[in-house]
Amino acid sequence: MKYVAPSSVEEATSLLSTSPSAQVFAGATDVVPQLRAGRPAPEVLVDLKKIEELVSVANDGDKWTVGAATPTANLTEDEAFSEEFPGLAEAAGLIGSDQIQNRSSLGGNLCNGSPAADSVPAMVVNGARAVVAGPNGTRVLDVAEVVTGPGQLALEADEFIVEFEIDRIPARTGDAYLRMIPRTEMDIAVVGAGARVTLAEDGSIEQAALALAAVAPTCVRVPDAEAALVGKTANDEILSAVAAAASEACDPIDDKRGTVAYRRQVAGVLAKRAVLIAIERAEQRNGTN
């Protein structure tokens, strides 16, 4: 197994095109444990962290650009970003331990392809887009389209994500992410729920997005819950409809971390709670950025 650390996107894509079994990594917080657990080693391990644009957080006035290999600690420590997207920052900050936070990244969390990835529902509800580099240049995918099944990606073997684009948050908009784990940290979501809400000037809900983690083969959106919220003001009845829609959207499995029944029920609970937090944050963000 060879380790290479290209310094440009072009160098990396050309490496990938010429080494069919090459494997890219950012923080290696998933790759190294997988190799240790006996997964066949690739011929070449390509470290993306030495490419400048992959490790950056920037705001051009219209959108934020987050390098795919940026340590999540950089993201959560970026006050302006965390203030604008507290839900996404919290989700990114839940990955692993403090030590892992210095290595883990949004790109790695997404491309590991785990249905339980915490940052994915939070990116999805914020409409994040992935800028994908390949031998023929770049293309843009919605984050929601990147993972097609557990460990399965819509990327070609010689493609990787360079950065994520997230439009600046509109006025009266808030996001939130909650997860259930049996302990308080160092764990993997049994259920995760990301929500984003935009309020109209009259306080009713203008736009809503809800996405769940760890309850289906991939992160799932809950359009029925979103529809139940739009045009309304949250009350017990509507929140119950949100919870019911979230439970209904689940396609979970029984495993050592939870049961089908538990995941369905708690998906509803977390969906409701995440929506409430998002509304509260939206109410606090009355002006524009």
Partner: protein
């Protein structure tokens, strides 16, 4: 701190100096089991069974032996047949657990081992060992193992303790029974009776340091072993037995130990490393991965326990009936015996039957874990007692006070208790502000108590006075919970010199007299008593030397504050430093040995108060406040005593809420790592408040009782009782996971 008896003016005992092993541990300099490197050393790897129960048809090592770098491959046939040599059955079990012969009895059971020049070569060679198995049906729980048509692990196992002995073999290794009074009469006198059934899962000790051993064999048959264990004399004895040699052929050096909690009182790797080293002619290191630690070491038993208890209106327990079955894992020897003796030992109960079964099943052989056997039984008994207190409207502390064992009570397991401090722990809880702290929404409060015997056993110590008047205290008890500090504090008190002038060390099996394992909370008691004895011999010697120097009778010399003083002040005092400097002129080096079989243990009691908050929509339980009161007899080193008290509670909270072995239907462990075997992390816990109770043990010079174990006995019931207080659901199946709590709440709503 709840001090029951005032400190009688000790200068060092009961103080909190800096721990002696701290610097080396925080700088990474301390040598743990896996740290030793020897010139020419090889790396070993163990081959383990992927099946829960299978017959070994053949093992082909030729491919592995032919690989680059491979220097030795061994299998069960490289070890003597102990059965043919007439060894005790328990020795045969140890040997067969170390490396399988005809059958593998659990997933992870060792079938072969290799040694090679590099770790990668060893791993590749281990994969190349070809084992052919005939897979056999397996049993994973006491229910499966005790079923009428259950497949047998040991075809000749006849249940012991049953009269007449059964004719048919079964998976039940033994039965235990404790009885007193008349059960029917007792239940007849009861105003309230509660009967419940409880289950618990196997849990692992969870020590941070995986097992590791290095062996260096000589061509004359002798070998040197370095390993991390709770007793290198025990490792020597077990290893010699498995290898079929005299213990004197082995020298064992204790490494620093990164946790054991009972799980390092047994051998796994040591004889394998010796045999590999003999075959290869080079030193060999074997280190387990975490995965191997889970699959093949520890854990403690999964259990099924039924408890029926009755109380009168005034809270007196009139009768108790306890039935329990404990998983032993692959070989006989679950802690059900201790469970039977401890289950109701906190209380003075006139009528009881306690019945228990030791049941083998296709899981790793259980090892000791902190108060082995007691916590599961206490979970059941203390949960039922809590329910009884509610039924008759009595405070949970008051019902325990109404039945508490005191000095003179005939213990449920036989002897009369000497002076004990159970009542004092109950009162310490009542006196603490946590007892009346206000509870928030969805919060609940639970109380539970626990008992543990504590062990005594054999210890040796040597004390040397150095030429400058400092001292070296040498024992053979691995320091797993602060014993070097406790030994130094007691020696400082005896010799009258500063704690900082004393170095306590743990010596190898050829340098100090025999010491039993560091287990049973016995080291501060028994090894401590040996240190005190040796120090007193030193003081006698020093007095004699002063008398000789002054040319006076011995009784004219007193030893006060680290110096010899003339009784009438006729001579200027001679300090230890003075006497040490002149030792060549007064009889030579100053040194003393003491060896003893402990003179009397001090039983340990703990009462604990737990506040939880349960999220009724997700079933997630957080412990928000926790208080533990424990009788330490005398806290030689209060920092370490509190550490033991808190450590027991933390492990108990993990056992209560999140820890469990999960096996798939093939008997393969599904969670052999700390991600899905969930020990609590720091953020899961509040500060564990400690109330040290000191009711001195009359059989120890400083009143020491063991403190290492009893703290893990009450937590599961304390947590369960608190959950019940919060939400009115009685949890009877450990762990009390969010999934189970939500199920219980859903059932409650139906």
């Amino acid at each position: 701190m709840a001090v029951v008896e005032e400190n009688p003016g000790y200068k060092w005992v009961g103080t909190r100096p800096i721990r002696p092993d701290g610097l080396e541990k925080v700088t990474g300099k301390a040598q743990f089991g896996a740290d030793l490197m020897l010139p020419g050393m090889l790396f070993g790897k163990v081959v383990r069974s992927p099946h829960a129960h299978a017959r070994i048809i053949s093992i082909d090592t030729t491919a592995a032996e032919a690989m680059v770098g491979v220097k030795a491959v061994i299998t069960g046939s490289d070890f003597p047949d102990l059965a043919a040599n007439g060894a005790h059955p328990s020795e045969i079990d140890v040997a067969n657990n170390t490396i399988a012969r005809e059958k593998v009895l659990y997933e992870g059971h060792v079938v072969a081992a290799v040694a090679a020049t590099t770790r990668d070569q060893a791993e590749a060679a281990a994969k190349a060992v070809e084992v052919t198995y005939e897979i056999l049906p397996h049993v994973l729980t006491v229910d499966e193992a005790m079923a009428d048509d259950a497949p047998l692990l040991h075809e000749g196992m006849i249940t012991k303790g049953v009269d007449p002995a059964p004719e048919e073999a079964s998976n039940v290794a033994s039965k235990i029974l404790h009885e007193r009074g008349d059960l029917d009469q007792g239940f007849g006198e009861a105003d309230a009776v509660v009967e419940r059934e409880f289950t618990t899962k196997p849990v692992h000790q969870g020590y941070i340091e995986p097992h590791a051993a290095v062996a260096d064999a000589n061509s004359d048959g002798r070998a040197h072993i370095w390993c991390s264990s709770q007793g290198h004399f025990q490792m020597r004895a077990y290893s010699a037995s498995v290898l079929g040699i005299s213990p004197g052929m082995l020298k064992v050096t204790a490494a620093e130990i990164g946790g054991g909690f009972g799980g390092k009182t047994v051998i796994y790797l040591e004889p394998l490393a010796v045999r590999l080293s003999q075959r290869a002619g080079r030193p060999v290191k074997l280190v387990m991965d975490r995965d191997e630690v889970f699959r093949a070491t520890g854990p403690t038993s999964g259990t099924r326990i039924k408890v029926k208890m009755g109380v009168s209106k005034d809270g007196k327990i009139t009768a108790a009936e306890v039935w329990m079955a404990y998983e032993a894992g692959a070989y006989a020897g679950s802690p059900v015996g201790a469970a039977g003796m401890t289950a109701i030992a906190c209380y003075d109960i006139p009528n009881f039957v306690v019945e228990g079964y030791d049941v083998v099943c296709n899981k790793p052989r259980v090892a000791a874990y902190r108060a082995p056997g007691a916590p599961m039984a206490a979970f059941a008994v203390e949960s039922v007692l809590d329910e009884l207190a509610r039924d008759i409207g009595m405070d949970p502390i008051e019902i325990r006070l109404a039945n508490a064992a005191v000095e003179g009570t005939q213990a449920s397991y036989g002897p009369k208790f000497p002076r004990i401090g159970f009542v004092e722990t109950l009162e310490a809880i009542k006196d603490h502000p946590n007892y009346t702290a206000e509870l928030g929404p969805n919060q609940g409060r639970g109380i539970a108590a626990g008992f543990w015997f504590n062990a005594g056993m054999m210890s040796s110590a040597t004390v040397h006075i150095n030429e400058n008047g400092t001292a070296t205290v040498v024992t053979g008890s691995p320091d797993i919970g602060g014993s070097r500090q406790s030994m130094a504090l007691m020696a400082a008190e005896e010799l009258g010199i500063p704690y900082e002038s004393i170095k306590a060390v743990v010596a190898d099996t050829e340098t100090v007299g025999f010491n039993d394992v560091t287990g049973g909370s016995r080291v501060t008691l028994a090894t401590g008593a040996a240190v005190v004895d040796a120090c007193r011999l030193i003081v006698e010697d020093l007095r004699a030397r002063a008398a000789k120097t002054w040319d006076v009778e011995l009784d004219q010399v007193e030893w006060v504050d680290g110096q010899a003083q003339h009784a009438e002040g006729a001579q200027p005092p001679l300090s230890l430093k003075d006497l040490a400097a002149k030792s060549g002129r007064t009889g030579g080096p100053i040194s003393a040995n003491a060896s003893l079989n402990s003179r009397g243990v001090g039983a340990g009691f703990s009462t604990q108060l737990c506040d939880v908050e349960v999220d009724p929509e997700t079933g997630v339980t957080r412990v928000v406040r926790y208080l533990t009161a424990q009788d330490a007899g005398r806290a030689i080193s209060p920092d370490y005593v509190e550490g033991q008290m808190q450590g027991g509670v933390v492990q108990g909270i993990g056992w209560a809420l999140s820890e469990e072995y999960i096996h798939d239907s093939d008997g393969v462990m599904e969670n052999p790592g700390f991600l899905d075997y969930r020990i609590p992390v720091a953020s899961d816990l509040p500060m564990i408040d400690c109330a040290i109770v000191e009711v001195p043990n009359p059989a120890h010079p400083y009143g020491v009782r063991g403190v290492g174990e009893v703290g893990i006995v009450p937590p599961m019931a304390a947590v369960g009782n608190a959950i019940n207080d919060a939400l009115d659901v009685r949890m009877t199946d450990l762990p009390m996971s969010p999934v189970k709590i939500l199920e219980a709440l859903n059932d409650q709503g139906d």
